[in-house]
Protein backbone atom coordinates (compact mmCIF):
# COMPACT_ATOMS: atom_id res chain seq x y z
CA UNK A 1 0.00 0.00 0.00
CA UNK A 2 2.74 2.39 1.08
CA UNK A 3 4.82 1.46 -1.93
CA UNK A 4 1.86 1.94 -4.22
CA UNK A 5 1.22 5.36 -2.76
CA UNK A 6 4.85 6.31 -3.25
CA UNK A 7 4.80 5.17 -6.84
CA UNK A 8 1.74 7.20 -7.68
CA UNK A 9 3.31 10.23 -5.96
CA UNK A 10 6.45 9.78 -8.07
CA UNK A 11 4.29 9.59 -11.19
CA UNK A 12 2.49 12.81 -10.29
CA UNK A 13 5.66 14.71 -9.33
CA UNK A 14 7.58 14.38 -12.55
CA UNK A 15 10.82 16.40 -12.69
CA UNK A 16 9.20 18.85 -15.11
CA UNK A 17 6.26 19.45 -12.76
CA UNK A 18 8.57 19.86 -9.79
CA UNK A 19 10.68 22.39 -11.65
CA UNK A 20 7.55 24.28 -12.69
CA UNK A 21 6.33 24.34 -9.10
CA UNK A 22 9.75 25.60 -8.00
CA UNK A 23 9.66 28.30 -10.63
CA UNK A 24 6.15 29.33 -9.58
CA UNK A 25 7.14 29.57 -5.91
CA UNK A 26 10.26 31.58 -6.76
CA UNK A 27 8.25 33.92 -8.98
CA UNK A 28 5.65 34.42 -6.25
CA UNK A 29 8.31 35.12 -3.64
CA UNK A 30 9.98 37.68 -5.90
CA UNK A 31 6.74 39.70 -6.24
CA UNK A 32 6.87 42.98 -4.28
CA UNK A 33 3.49 42.18 -2.70
CA UNK A 34 4.59 38.87 -1.23
CA UNK A 35 7.95 40.31 -0.20
CA UNK A 36 6.08 43.04 1.63
CA UNK A 37 3.75 40.56 3.28
CA UNK A 38 6.43 38.10 4.36
CA UNK A 39 9.00 40.69 5.36
CA UNK A 40 6.59 42.84 7.34
CA UNK A 41 7.24 40.65 10.35
CA UNK A 42 10.53 39.29 11.58
CA UNK A 43 9.38 35.74 12.21
CA UNK A 44 7.59 35.44 8.84
CA UNK A 45 10.74 36.77 7.18
CA UNK A 46 12.99 34.05 8.62
CA UNK A 47 10.65 31.17 9.42
CA UNK A 48 8.39 31.37 6.32
CA UNK A 49 10.22 33.20 3.56
CA UNK A 50 13.61 31.54 4.09
CA UNK A 51 12.28 27.95 3.88
CA UNK A 52 10.04 28.82 0.91
CA UNK A 53 13.04 30.04 -1.07
CA UNK A 54 14.84 26.83 -0.11
CA UNK A 55 11.85 24.75 -1.21
CA UNK A 56 11.84 26.57 -4.57
CA UNK A 57 15.57 25.81 -4.94
CA UNK A 58 15.06 22.14 -4.09
CA UNK A 59 12.19 21.80 -6.59
CA UNK A 60 14.07 23.62 -9.34
CA UNK A 61 16.93 21.15 -8.93
CA UNK A 62 14.69 18.53 -10.55
CA UNK A 63 15.22 20.33 -13.84
CA UNK A 64 18.96 19.62 -13.79
CA UNK A 65 19.76 17.04 -16.49
CA UNK A 66 21.36 13.79 -15.34
CA UNK A 67 24.72 14.77 -16.82
CA UNK A 68 24.83 17.99 -14.84
CA UNK A 69 23.85 16.13 -11.66
CA UNK A 70 26.66 13.64 -12.22
CA UNK A 71 29.07 16.48 -12.91
CA UNK A 72 28.08 18.18 -9.65
CA UNK A 73 28.35 14.88 -7.78
CA UNK A 74 32.04 14.67 -8.67
CA UNK A 75 32.57 17.89 -6.71
CA UNK A 76 30.26 16.75 -3.94
CA UNK A 77 31.58 13.44 -2.58
CA UNK A 78 29.32 12.16 0.23
CA UNK A 79 27.38 15.42 -0.11
CA UNK A 80 30.04 17.18 1.91
CA UNK A 81 30.44 20.35 -0.19
CA UNK A 82 26.67 20.70 -0.48
CA UNK A 83 26.08 20.43 3.24
CA UNK A 84 28.92 22.86 3.96
CA UNK A 85 27.31 25.29 1.50
CA UNK A 86 23.90 24.91 3.16
CA UNK A 87 25.29 25.23 6.69
CA UNK A 88 27.46 28.25 5.87
CA UNK A 89 24.72 30.05 3.97
CA UNK A 90 22.12 29.53 6.71
CA UNK A 91 24.54 30.61 9.41
CA UNK A 92 25.44 33.83 7.58
CA UNK A 93 21.78 34.53 6.77
CA UNK A 94 20.82 34.28 10.44
CA UNK A 95 23.02 37.26 11.34
CA UNK A 96 20.48 39.91 12.45
CA UNK A 97 21.92 42.57 10.15
CA UNK A 98 20.86 40.55 7.09
CA UNK A 99 17.17 41.06 7.92
CA UNK A 100 17.51 44.84 8.11
CA UNK A 101 19.81 45.08 5.12
CA UNK A 102 17.53 42.89 2.97
CA UNK A 103 14.78 45.51 3.42
CA UNK A 104 16.97 48.52 2.63
CA UNK A 105 19.57 47.26 0.20
CA UNK A 106 18.35 45.45 -2.95
CA UNK A 107 21.71 43.72 -3.70
CA UNK A 108 21.57 42.09 -0.25
CA UNK A 109 17.98 40.97 -0.84
CA UNK A 110 19.04 39.46 -4.16
CA UNK A 111 22.07 37.72 -2.66
CA UNK A 112 19.93 36.43 0.21
CA UNK A 113 17.36 34.91 -2.16
CA UNK A 114 20.06 33.40 -4.39
CA UNK A 115 21.84 31.89 -1.38
CA UNK A 116 18.59 30.35 -0.13
CA UNK A 117 17.82 28.88 -3.57
CA UNK A 118 21.33 27.41 -3.65
CA UNK A 119 20.90 26.08 -0.10
CA UNK A 120 17.67 24.25 -1.00
CA UNK A 121 19.26 22.83 -4.11
CA UNK A 122 22.44 21.80 -2.27
CA UNK A 123 20.44 20.04 0.44
CA UNK A 124 18.51 18.04 -2.14
CA UNK A 125 21.65 17.10 -4.07
CA UNK A 126 23.58 16.15 -0.94
CA UNK A 127 21.27 14.79 1.76
CA UNK A 128 20.84 11.19 0.52
CA UNK A 129 24.48 11.00 -0.53
CA UNK A 130 25.67 12.09 2.87
CA UNK A 131 24.77 9.00 4.90
CA UNK A 132 24.08 8.97 8.59
CA UNK A 133 27.54 9.97 9.81
CA UNK A 134 27.87 13.09 7.66
CA UNK A 135 24.19 13.94 8.23
CA UNK A 136 24.71 13.59 11.96
CA UNK A 137 27.79 15.79 11.90
CA UNK A 138 25.99 18.44 9.86
CA UNK A 139 22.87 18.42 12.01
CA UNK A 140 24.84 18.27 15.25
CA UNK A 141 26.56 21.51 14.32
CA UNK A 142 23.71 23.20 12.52
CA UNK A 143 20.90 22.47 14.95
CA UNK A 144 22.88 23.34 18.08
CA UNK A 145 23.93 26.59 16.45
CA UNK A 146 20.34 27.23 15.35
CA UNK A 147 18.97 26.68 18.85
CA UNK A 148 21.69 28.95 20.28
CA UNK A 149 20.81 31.69 17.77
CA UNK A 150 17.12 31.18 18.51
CA UNK A 151 17.80 31.68 22.22
CA UNK A 152 19.82 34.80 21.48
CA UNK A 153 16.93 36.27 19.49
CA UNK A 154 14.40 35.26 22.15
CA UNK A 155 16.36 36.58 25.13
CA UNK A 156 18.07 39.70 23.83
CA UNK A 157 16.78 42.73 25.77
CA UNK A 158 17.74 44.95 22.81
CA UNK A 159 16.08 45.14 19.45
CA UNK A 160 18.48 43.42 17.05
CA UNK A 161 16.78 44.78 13.94
CA UNK A 162 15.76 48.40 13.51
CA UNK A 163 12.89 47.39 11.26
CA UNK A 164 11.19 45.01 13.68
CA UNK A 165 9.57 45.17 17.10
CA UNK A 166 10.92 43.42 20.18
CA UNK A 167 7.98 41.03 20.64
CA UNK A 168 8.35 39.97 17.00
CA UNK A 169 12.00 39.17 17.74
CA UNK A 170 11.06 37.06 20.77
CA UNK A 171 8.53 35.19 18.65
CA UNK A 172 11.17 34.54 15.99
CA UNK A 173 13.60 33.27 18.63
CA UNK A 174 11.02 30.84 19.99
CA UNK A 175 10.12 29.67 16.50
CA UNK A 176 13.78 29.02 15.64
CA UNK A 177 14.38 27.13 18.88
CA UNK A 178 11.24 25.04 18.38
CA UNK A 179 11.87 24.37 14.70
CA UNK A 180 15.46 23.22 15.19
CA UNK A 181 14.46 21.05 18.15
CA UNK A 182 11.73 19.37 16.08
CA UNK A 183 14.21 18.79 13.23
CA UNK A 184 16.69 17.21 15.64
CA UNK A 185 14.04 14.90 17.13
CA UNK A 186 12.73 13.97 13.67
CA UNK A 187 16.21 13.01 12.50
CA UNK A 188 16.85 10.94 15.64
CA UNK A 189 13.55 9.13 15.15
CA UNK A 190 14.55 8.39 11.56
CA UNK A 191 17.92 7.04 12.72
CA UNK A 192 16.25 4.88 15.38
CA UNK A 193 13.86 3.49 12.78
CA UNK A 194 16.74 2.78 10.42
CA UNK A 195 18.74 0.97 13.13
CA UNK A 196 15.73 -1.11 14.13
CA UNK A 197 15.11 -2.07 10.53
CA UNK A 198 18.74 -3.06 10.10
CA UNK A 199 18.61 -5.20 13.23
CA UNK A 200 15.49 -6.90 11.93
CA UNK A 201 17.31 -7.53 8.65
CA UNK A 202 20.34 -8.93 10.48
CA UNK A 203 18.11 -11.26 12.49
CA UNK A 204 16.36 -12.40 9.36
CA UNK A 205 19.73 -13.07 7.82
CA UNK A 206 20.88 -14.90 10.97
CA UNK A 207 17.87 -17.16 10.53
CA UNK A 208 19.19 -18.26 7.16
CA UNK A 209 22.78 -18.30 8.43
CA UNK A 210 23.54 -22.05 8.02
CA UNK A 211 22.57 -21.81 4.42
CA UNK A 212 24.79 -18.82 3.71
CA UNK A 213 27.76 -20.17 5.70
CA UNK A 214 27.53 -23.43 3.83
CA UNK A 215 27.53 -21.37 0.70
CA UNK A 216 30.61 -19.46 1.81
CA UNK A 217 32.43 -22.63 2.86
CA UNK A 218 32.23 -23.92 -0.64
CA UNK A 219 35.43 -23.25 -2.55
Amino acid sequence: MNLHWRRSLARTLTPARQALAGLAIAALLALPASRHLLEASMWRHMVLQYPLWMLAGALLTAALPERAQNGIARWNASGISGLILAGTALLVLMIPRVLDLALLHPPTEFAKSAALLATGSALRLSWRRAGLVVQGFFLGNMLLMGVAIGQLYANSPLRLCNAYLLDDQVRLGNWLTGLFTVLAVAWLVQVAWWIMRREADTQAMAGSAPHSSAHRAAP
Binding site: I80, P96, C161, Y164, L165
Partner: protein, 209 residues
Amino acid sequence: MVRTALLSLLVALGGYFSAAWLTHDFQVWTDEGARRLEVALSPVPLPAVELRGEDARQLALPAIAQGQVTIADFFYTRCQTVCLSLGSTFQQLQAALQADGDRPGAAPVRLLSLSFDGAHDGAPELKAYAGKLGADPALWRFASVPDREQQQALLARLGVVVIPDALGDYEHNAALLIFDAQGRMVRIFDLAEQQLALNYARHLASKAS
Protein backbone atom coordinates in the same frame (compact mmCIF):
# COMPACT_ATOMS: atom_id res chain seq x y z
CA MET B 1 37.59 13.76 -3.05
CA VAL B 2 40.20 16.45 -3.84
CA ARG B 3 37.59 18.32 -5.83
CA THR B 4 35.12 18.07 -2.96
CA ALA B 5 37.72 19.34 -0.50
CA LEU B 6 38.59 22.21 -2.84
CA LEU B 7 34.94 23.20 -3.35
CA SER B 8 34.22 22.93 0.38
CA LEU B 9 37.18 25.19 1.10
CA LEU B 10 35.96 27.73 -1.48
CA VAL B 11 32.45 27.66 -0.03
CA ALA B 12 33.76 28.13 3.51
CA LEU B 13 35.94 31.03 2.35
CA GLY B 14 32.97 32.58 0.57
CA GLY B 15 30.93 32.30 3.75
CA TYR B 16 33.74 33.79 5.80
CA PHE B 17 34.14 36.80 3.52
CA SER B 18 30.39 37.47 3.28
CA ALA B 19 30.13 37.31 7.07
CA ALA B 20 33.17 39.58 7.42
CA TRP B 21 31.59 42.09 5.02
CA LEU B 22 28.24 41.96 6.81
CA THR B 23 29.71 42.41 10.28
CA HIS B 24 32.54 44.87 9.45
CA ASP B 25 35.14 42.21 10.26
CA PHE B 26 33.08 40.68 13.06
CA GLN B 27 32.72 43.92 15.03
CA VAL B 28 28.95 44.40 14.69
CA TRP B 29 26.06 41.99 14.25
CA THR B 30 23.14 44.38 13.91
CA ASP B 31 22.35 47.10 11.40
CA GLU B 32 22.27 49.64 14.22
CA GLY B 33 25.82 48.63 15.19
CA ALA B 34 26.90 48.96 11.57
CA ARG B 35 25.23 52.38 11.30
CA ARG B 36 27.09 53.67 14.36
CA LEU B 37 30.40 52.27 13.18
CA GLU B 38 30.00 53.64 9.66
CA VAL B 39 29.20 57.12 10.96
CA ALA B 40 32.25 57.06 13.24
CA LEU B 41 34.42 56.03 10.29
CA SER B 42 33.03 58.54 7.82
CA PRO B 43 30.88 61.51 8.88
CA VAL B 44 27.46 61.97 7.24
CA PRO B 45 26.72 65.50 5.89
CA LEU B 46 23.30 66.72 7.05
CA PRO B 47 20.89 67.12 4.14
CA ALA B 48 19.32 70.47 3.29
CA VAL B 49 15.96 70.38 5.10
CA GLU B 50 13.44 73.07 6.04
CA LEU B 51 12.54 72.89 9.73
CA ARG B 52 9.91 74.59 11.86
CA GLY B 53 10.96 75.42 15.39
CA GLU B 54 8.89 75.39 18.59
CA ASP B 55 8.65 79.18 18.23
CA ALA B 56 7.16 78.69 14.72
CA ARG B 57 10.28 80.14 13.15
CA GLN B 58 11.63 78.74 9.90
CA LEU B 59 14.96 77.00 10.42
CA ALA B 60 17.10 75.08 8.02
CA LEU B 61 19.51 72.22 8.26
CA PRO B 62 22.44 72.16 8.01
CA ALA B 63 22.62 75.93 8.78
CA ILE B 64 21.39 75.69 12.39
CA ALA B 65 23.95 73.02 13.20
CA GLN B 66 26.88 75.02 11.88
CA GLY B 67 29.20 76.94 14.19
CA GLN B 68 28.19 74.83 17.19
CA VAL B 69 28.38 71.24 18.30
CA THR B 70 24.92 69.72 18.53
CA ILE B 71 23.65 66.75 20.50
CA ALA B 72 20.48 65.75 18.68
CA ASP B 73 17.77 63.16 19.09
CA PHE B 74 14.64 62.12 17.29
CA PHE B 75 11.31 61.90 19.10
CA TYR B 76 7.58 62.54 18.68
CA THR B 77 5.48 64.46 21.16
CA ARG B 78 2.81 61.77 21.66
CA CYS B 79 5.49 59.27 22.68
CA GLN B 80 4.95 57.51 25.99
CA THR B 81 7.95 55.18 26.06
CA VAL B 82 11.52 55.67 25.02
CA CYS B 83 11.15 59.40 24.33
CA LEU B 84 10.36 59.94 28.00
CA SER B 85 13.77 58.59 28.93
CA LEU B 86 15.26 60.58 26.04
CA GLY B 87 13.58 63.64 27.52
CA SER B 88 15.09 63.04 30.94
CA THR B 89 18.49 62.32 29.38
CA PHE B 90 18.27 65.67 27.62
CA GLN B 91 17.17 67.40 30.82
CA GLN B 92 20.32 66.11 32.48
CA LEU B 93 22.44 67.18 29.52
CA GLN B 94 20.86 70.64 29.68
CA ALA B 95 21.60 70.85 33.41
CA ALA B 96 25.23 69.91 32.76
CA LEU B 97 25.53 72.54 30.00
CA GLN B 98 23.91 75.20 32.21
CA ALA B 99 26.30 74.43 35.06
CA ASP B 100 29.22 74.56 32.69
CA GLY B 101 28.42 77.66 30.66
CA ASP B 102 30.04 78.19 27.29
CA ARG B 103 33.76 77.62 27.58
CA PRO B 104 35.87 80.51 26.32
CA GLY B 105 37.55 79.72 23.06
CA ALA B 106 35.35 76.70 22.40
CA ALA B 107 32.35 76.39 20.13
CA PRO B 108 29.03 76.22 22.03
CA VAL B 109 27.41 72.85 22.67
CA ARG B 110 23.65 72.86 22.01
CA LEU B 111 20.76 70.41 22.16
CA LEU B 112 18.32 69.75 19.32
CA SER B 113 15.26 67.52 19.48
CA LEU B 114 13.85 66.68 16.07
CA SER B 115 10.34 65.30 15.68
CA PHE B 116 9.80 62.58 13.09
CA ASP B 117 6.04 63.10 13.26
CA GLY B 118 5.89 66.31 11.21
CA ALA B 119 2.25 65.67 10.30
CA HIS B 120 1.19 65.95 13.95
CA ASP B 121 3.92 67.95 15.67
CA GLY B 122 3.50 71.60 14.72
CA ALA B 123 4.90 74.57 16.62
CA PRO B 124 2.20 74.50 19.38
CA GLU B 125 2.79 70.81 20.15
CA LEU B 126 6.55 71.33 20.21
CA LYS B 127 6.20 74.36 22.44
CA ALA B 128 3.99 72.51 24.90
CA TYR B 129 6.39 69.60 24.93
CA ALA B 130 9.39 71.86 25.48
CA GLY B 131 7.57 73.58 28.31
CA LYS B 132 6.77 70.27 29.97
CA LEU B 133 10.43 69.31 29.91
CA GLY B 134 11.58 72.71 31.16
CA ALA B 135 13.72 73.30 28.11
CA ASP B 136 15.86 76.46 28.06
CA PRO B 137 15.38 77.90 24.54
CA ALA B 138 18.91 79.26 24.53
CA LEU B 139 20.34 75.74 24.90
CA TRP B 140 17.71 73.30 23.72
CA ARG B 141 15.69 73.70 20.57
CA PHE B 142 12.83 71.65 19.19
CA ALA B 143 11.91 71.34 15.53
CA SER B 144 9.92 69.24 13.12
CA VAL B 145 10.02 68.82 9.36
CA PRO B 146 6.76 70.05 7.79
CA ASP B 147 7.49 68.54 4.38
CA ARG B 148 6.90 64.79 4.32
CA GLU B 149 9.42 64.02 1.61
CA GLN B 150 12.14 66.08 3.26
CA GLN B 151 11.40 64.32 6.53
CA GLN B 152 11.83 60.92 4.89
CA ALA B 153 15.07 62.09 3.28
CA LEU B 154 16.40 63.32 6.63
CA LEU B 155 15.52 60.07 8.42
CA ALA B 156 17.03 57.99 5.63
CA ARG B 157 20.24 60.02 5.57
CA LEU B 158 20.70 59.76 9.32
CA GLY B 159 19.69 56.09 9.46
CA VAL B 160 16.69 56.65 11.70
CA VAL B 161 14.16 53.83 11.28
CA VAL B 162 10.64 54.46 12.57
CA ILE B 163 8.08 51.66 12.68
CA PRO B 164 4.51 51.76 13.96
CA ASP B 165 3.73 49.33 16.79
CA ALA B 166 0.52 47.57 17.73
CA LEU B 167 -0.58 50.31 20.14
CA GLY B 168 -0.56 53.10 17.57
CA ASP B 169 2.79 54.39 18.81
CA TYR B 170 6.12 54.35 17.04
CA GLU B 171 9.19 52.30 17.77
CA HIS B 172 12.46 53.88 16.66
CA ASN B 173 16.18 53.42 17.07
CA ALA B 174 16.56 56.21 19.59
CA ALA B 175 20.10 57.42 20.14
CA LEU B 176 22.19 60.53 20.81
CA LEU B 177 23.47 61.96 17.54
CA ILE B 178 26.45 64.32 17.52
CA PHE B 179 26.60 66.96 14.77
CA ASP B 180 29.90 68.82 14.39
CA ALA B 181 30.38 72.52 13.63
CA GLN B 182 30.55 71.82 9.89
CA GLY B 183 27.02 70.37 9.90
CA ARG B 184 27.94 66.71 9.71
CA MET B 185 26.75 63.81 11.86
CA VAL B 186 29.99 62.45 13.29
CA ARG B 187 28.99 60.01 16.05
CA ILE B 188 26.02 58.10 17.39
CA PHE B 189 25.90 57.20 21.08
CA ASP B 190 23.57 54.90 22.90
CA LEU B 191 21.01 56.48 25.25
CA ALA B 192 22.92 54.95 28.16
CA GLU B 193 26.13 56.67 27.05
CA GLN B 194 24.98 60.17 27.91
CA GLN B 195 28.16 61.18 29.75
CA LEU B 196 30.31 59.85 26.94
CA ALA B 197 28.25 61.80 24.41
CA LEU B 198 28.61 65.00 26.43
CA ASN B 199 32.36 64.57 26.84
CA TYR B 200 32.74 63.85 23.16
CA ALA B 201 30.68 66.92 22.22
CA ARG B 202 32.79 69.13 24.52
CA HIS B 203 35.97 67.71 23.10
CA LEU B 204 34.71 68.38 19.58
CA ALA B 205 33.70 71.92 20.58
CA SER B 206 37.14 72.70 21.98
CA LYS B 207 38.71 71.52 18.73
CA ALA B 208 36.23 73.43 16.58
CA SER B 209 37.20 76.86 17.85
